[in-house]
Assembly symmetry: C2
Homo-oligomer: 380 residues x 2
């Protein structure tokens, strides 16, 4: 994490007058607070001994069953024993990276130096940081040991992987024995139609599949999951036990109760409508206030990936934007290859997910003012 | 984790007819279920947007303040910014181990190969597994880079580190620059008097301090903490972000509300009385049913460390014990040096914490029957 950007983003987040186009946060107004409060109360009263006691590292059976049923409905032949409940998708990625890339003194299956991880040119910073910390970003995608991908819905671009790319990836894995780390975090927030089948549905041997309740329900629950190739289950459990023994039992009990009482399909449909409206409002605001911005309309998820003309330092734009009362995620956070900072293309991830649509127009207006202010400043 | 032992322990845990002297689990009857249910409901209703949204990796400010005040009351000059909330003590240990021992491709401060971790001859298996997985158990304690210790209350032995040992350890750290990883999990469950000052109170530069609510409140909350030397804070936060972004926000909100409404001192006093009675009941049962067992009465915590005469395979005794309706933790789980299995001393950790005192006598009676049965069997 770039310390300058981190400091700026913390300052913005602490200032309620700032319109936040940063963070990729779900909308608080979609959090089913009353229902979660009721589930919390029921879970502790009815299931308290289990909810509050130690539990096994794989996580609650009912939750694993719920997840495996949903994956099965999307064509993946997965049983509850193939699923490990993790402390969010980030932990699932971190465990998968450990299994795939090994660690000093550990039981490395593949050494980072033998290959590395192939990534999209722009990708999820949480995953990027894991691979960078291991020195495991592949220099040459053709020699990679593993590919980290978001086929159903990419972040930050909000696009769907084409059938040709999917086929190419699966055949690469089959031919080279390379692993696919499939991040499915936004899959259920595809705006039109049903989420595509996960790659997991076509290959159980090479695909490590990661999902989460953070985008569809609430991130504060910190419940995600990892589905690994069956032969890796024991090692994954061993790793889970090492890193934190087990995922929060109280939250797992609350979530089990919540899911038993909730119409999750209806909830997802409402969330998709909400975020699709946000995407439309943000795109409209960009066309109105920042017509020089280039972007593709997102097919789902929380954000639009925007390119502004010219080159520059995106942290400088963020500082100027903060002074104008708006924040965003600088493109450099998502970028695999670092470019000399002042020659970088100026790209931004703008999230429409965490502000009500009426504030998005205002946010982009402020961003445009910051952008023009910076351009004037540079012209002097 | 030994697969044979793991399988046996899972089978025992699933069978309600088995008296469990295994696991080091806190007593469910001490869980304040109604109060936690009330706090959960209040936290979500009043603080839901924050509780359920993403949060920063260091954890909730109020919780860090509460923890730093308690440590300050024990003589450590610690502020809230020195504390990181972790997903249980296990994660705190795992993060500290990473900072101290490095990882492939990471930013190692000390390579495992340069030294390693010095441990008690028997120690907490969760920590032991972390160091073993890194190949970082020191062969020679004098050349260790780090010492993992439980000065206030050791596990599995339930003893307090002597003043001379404390002084020796602190002077070793000061002289060699070695690190001390202080596991304070059971400190507040010392039976007589107040918990001793943590080593942290005497050395902020070399001590990494780990604590948890798992033993004093409930493990299912998965809330622990790490206090690191100030110069390591940024790296610790970076690591926390990599492994799971942040600790469960819902639980942190619940816990903040709970602590604001609870008399924690009174709660601890009641817990100490309860566990002290358990320790006494278990010791009495051992003297009655297994007079050949050697043990020291614990000064706190959850367990008695017992040595039986002769040598043998503790997993065989566990299998026999399960047939007699009792379970325990085999000593080999806690042992740093592996001995050829059949020549191992037969040691067991017997926990009095998770069964009501009236069942402890019955448990030891069953254990004695299993032990005699095995001895007869071996005599044939």
């Amino acid at each position: 994490v770039d310390q300058e950007i981190d400091t700026l983003q913390r300052a913005c987040a602490a200032d309620p007058s700032i319109v936040s186009l940063a963070g990729g946060l779900p909308a608080c107004q979609l959090f089913p607070k009353a229902k979660i409060a009721a589930s919390a109360s029921r879970a502790v009263r009815r299931d308290g001994d289990r909810a509050l006691q130690y539990d096994w590292p794989e996580g609650r059976e009912g939750l694993r069953e719920w997840i495996s049923r949903r994956l099965a409905a999307r064509g993946a032949s997965v049983s509850k024993d193939d699923v490990i409940i993790t402390s969010g998708a980030q932990q699932a990625l971190s465990i998968a990276a450990h299994l795939l890339l090994g660690s000093a003194g550990g039981e490395p299956h593949r050494r980072a130096s033998e290959g590395g991880v192939a990534l999209d040119a722009e990708t999820y910073p949480g995953a990027l940081d894991i691979f960078k910390a291991r020195g495991a970003v592949a220099d040459d995608a053709r020699r990679a040991r593993c590919a980290y991908v978001m086929p159903a819905m990419s972040n930050p671009r909000g696009q769907v992987m084409s059938p040709a790319e999917r086929a190419g990836l699966l055949s690469w894995a089959a031919q080279t024995g390379g692993a696919i780390l499939e991040d499915d975090a936004y899959a259920e927030l595809v705006f039109d139609g049903e989420p595509p089948a996960p790659l997991l549905a076509q290959d159980r041997e090479h695909v490590f599949h990661v999902g989460t309740f953070s985008k569809t329900l609430c991130p504060g629950l910190r419940v995600g999951w990892l589905v690994m190739p069956p032969k890796m289950r024991a090692l994954a459990l061993e790793r889970k036990r090492l890193v934190d023994l087990q995922t929060n039992g109280l939250t797992q009990s609350i979530l089990e109760d919540f899911l038993a009482h909730d119409d999750f399909g209806q909830r997802l449909a409402a969330a998709r409508r909400y975020y699709a409206q946000g995407a439309e409002a943000l795109a409209r605001a960009l066309r109105r206030h920042l017509p020089e911005a280039e972007f593709n309309e997102p097919k789902g998820g929380f954000s639009i990936w925007v390119k502004l003309p010219g080159t520059g330092v995106d942290a400088e734009l963020l500082a100027e934007a903060a002074r104008h009362g708006v924040s965003f995620d600088p493109g450099s956070m998502f970028r695999v290859r670092s470019v000399a900072r002042s020659e970088s293309p100026i790209e931004l991830r703008l999230s429409y997910s965490n502000e009500p649509p009426r504030k998005l127009d205002d946010g982009v207006r402020r961003l445009a003012a910051a952008w023009r202010g910076l351009a004037r400043h540079r012209a002097h």
